[in-house]
């Protein structure tokens, strides 16, 4: 069982996020990390690999410091890593990102491709679907449970109105939610072992992707305007002295909300 996990290096959501002068997310001048939602994908891949004698390859597309994201995954226990690094990729939109990912996945042996439910920066949740489209593979997304047996992947998806059990043949793309598992912390042994694990860096040329098809210039969408939302003005705060609930409702009535 060969498992590829796609991960993203994102700005730390606890810190300040901002835009660069070309209206792209500033990824160079801010603290970054492995997207928290991708840790669940790495954990699930490791669990499946452990029970099936499989191999986990972690894949990222991003700037130089994105290596930190794959390194964290190697420390958690992934076997190998690939970092697609090319200046031409800067500013790529979701379709272009999926193009690069698809080319990279295509070069790797893959029975199962696992992703998180969204990145914590863009939160579009469209790349798994686009990747599936590009690779011509079925997608089973937002799994809160995954089992792999006899060439079939079976997931549970907890929706708003129903819980669904979905089956797909392999190879397939699976995305997992933050409800699926408890990602492990890298152990000291894992951190030491990660230093010796293979980490390859591929360029667009290595993938046979035309640089003109990716990057800000090739994006299918354009950002025209960015405005910082004015901070919400803190309103009135009262301390409950036995009438807090009544005061609350008086406020709501004044605002015509009840």
């Amino acid at each position: 069982m060969n498992i590829v996990v796609c991960v993203k290096y994102v700005p730390d959501a606890q810190a300040e996020s901002r835009f660069a002068s070309d209206n792209t997310t500033d990824r160079a001048g801010v603290d970054g990390l492995l997207s928290e939602l991708d840790e669940y994908a790495v954990e699930e891949a490791l669990k499946i690999a452990e029970s099936s004698d499989g191999k986990v390859t972690v894949l990222t597309v991003g700037p130089e410091n994105a290596t930190e994201a794959v390194r964290k995954a190697l420390q958690m226990g992934a076997d190998e890593a690939v970092h697609v690094l090319d200046d031409a990729i800067h500013g790529s939109d979701a379709p272009a990102t999926s193009l690069v990912l698809a080319a990279a996945v295509g070069k790797l042996e893959h029975d199962l491709v696992i992703t998180g439910m969204a990145s914590t920066d863009g939160i579009m949740s469209v790349v798994p679907a686009m990747l599936a489209e590009r690779l011509g593979l079925p997608q089973v997304t937002l799994a809160s449970e995954v089992t792999v047996e006899n060439g079939t992947v079976r997931i549970r998806r907890d929706g708003d109105t129903s819980t669904e059990i979905i089956e797909s043949s392999l190879p397939a793309i699976v995305s997992v939610t933050d409800q699926i598992n408890e990602p492990r912390y890298p152990s000291f042994k894992g951190i030491m072992a990660a230093k010796k694990k293979p980490l390859q860096t591929w360029s667009l040329a290595d993938l046979g992707v035309d640089a003109g098809d990716v990057g800000l210039g090739a994006a299918w969408t354009a950002v025209d305007e960015i405005a910082a939302r004015p901070p919400r003005q803190a309103g009135q705060v009262v301390t409950d002295e036995g009438d807090g609930g009544n005061k609350l409702v008086e406020y709501l009535a004044g605002a015509k909300l009840v």
């Binding site: 679907a129 590009r134 997304t141 969408t221 405005a227 609930g245």
Partner: protein
């Protein structure tokens, strides 16, 4: 005038409110046309016409409901090829975004997700998004292909069209799902028990509980029911197993923007703010006067939710007589 396609979100023909919002937005951009996949068009046609759809593309095919998004993306691609629309509007649900993603790659068109507003512009529709936990507002447009935009609930006030025909023109689009689209199949569906409360993503009022409930959501639910509101929960409350994940408000749950958001016993961590910061009015109840949620609140009560909420519930019920 070119058509603007709206993918209808419905359950057996019962049209969800987001669809009427999307039709209203579509009317700003061109001639609204609905794409209906599944059963129950007879129930839906009147509503679709009332909110401006002049044409309904009725997609017919075997087993469209039993597979995941791919057959729907294929069907939508077929309608796009037939109608050459000015734009495609899709509800920003989990399924909607995946359909949008596959459609975008299929037809070579740009996609914008989670728009909170869409207006006509010189270079095509201009979509407004709220990004980085609501910290920034971004206006963008699709520059390649037929613009595909997924729109969040409550992004427009649905407007019925005066003098609209009672029923729209129905164009049947036969599709055959590809073999690939049948590879992922729903083998079992267990419906969840209905809470009887409004849908969290669409509700005009949301009352949420967090760590401060200590697992007892009854005062939160009681106030929600008095207000006719949906119930939400913080990630801390969901992780503790106190409330279902489908009710989680925040970065990894639902992003809501109701008229009124009541946060009870929620500190207001960035993960939660990302899901509710764009609410019109925010009210907070928390024991800790230093809780960051008070920085966002239009009105705050420093106090114990177990005394404040029941009193508020009683006051609401009294007002409603």
């Amino acid at each position: 005038m070119s058509q603007v396609l709206v993918l209808v979100d419905h359950v057996d023909g019962s049209v969800r409110k987001t669809t009427t919002e999307l039709l209203t937005i579509a009317a700003r951009l061109g001639e609204p046309a609905a794409v209906f996949i599944g059963n129950g068009l007879d129930n839906a046609a009147g509503t679709l016409a009332e909110f401006g759809a002049t044409t309904v593309y009725k997609v017919e095919g075997e087993g469209l409901e039993d597979y995941l998004v791919l057959p729907k993306a294929e069907a939508l691609a077929a309608v796009v090829a037939q109608a050459s629309p000015a734009a495609v509007l899709i509800p920003s649900s989990v399924e909607g975004k995946e359909i949008a993603g596959r459609l975008a790659v299929k037809i070579g068109a740009g996609v914008i997700t989670d728009a909170v507003d869409v207006q006509a512009g010189d270079g095509g529709p201009v979509a407004t998004q709220s990004v980085f936990a609501g910290g920034f507002t971004v206006k963008s447009r699709v520059t390649t292909g037929v613009p595909i935009i997924t729109v969040k609930p409550n992004s427009a006030a649905p407007e019925a069209v005066a003098g609209a025909p009672a029923s729209p023109e129905v164009v049947t689009v036969p599709v055959t799902p590809s073999d690939l689209s049948k590879a992922a199949k729903i083998v079992e569906r267990r419906p969840k028990e209905k809470s009887g409360r409004p849908d969290l993503s669409e509700a005009a009022i949301v009352v949420s509980g967090g760590r401060g409930t200590n697992g007892d959501f009854s005062p939160v639910e009681a106030l929600a029911d008095a207000l006719g509101a949906a119930v939400g929960a913080s990630r801390a409350a969901v992780d503790a197993g106190w409330y279902p994940h489908s009710n989680q408000v925040g970065q990894t749950g639902k992003q809501v923007s109701p008229q009124l958001y009541v946060a009870a016993g929620i500190s207001g961590a960035i993960q939660h703010r990302a899901g509710m910061q764009t609410s019109k009015t925010i009210v907070a109840i928390n024991k800790d006067p230093e809780a960051p949620i008070f920085e966002l609140a239009d009105f705050g009560v420093v106090g114990d939710l177990f005394t404040v909420l029941p009193q508020a519930t009683e006051a609401v019920l009294k007002r409603k007589g």
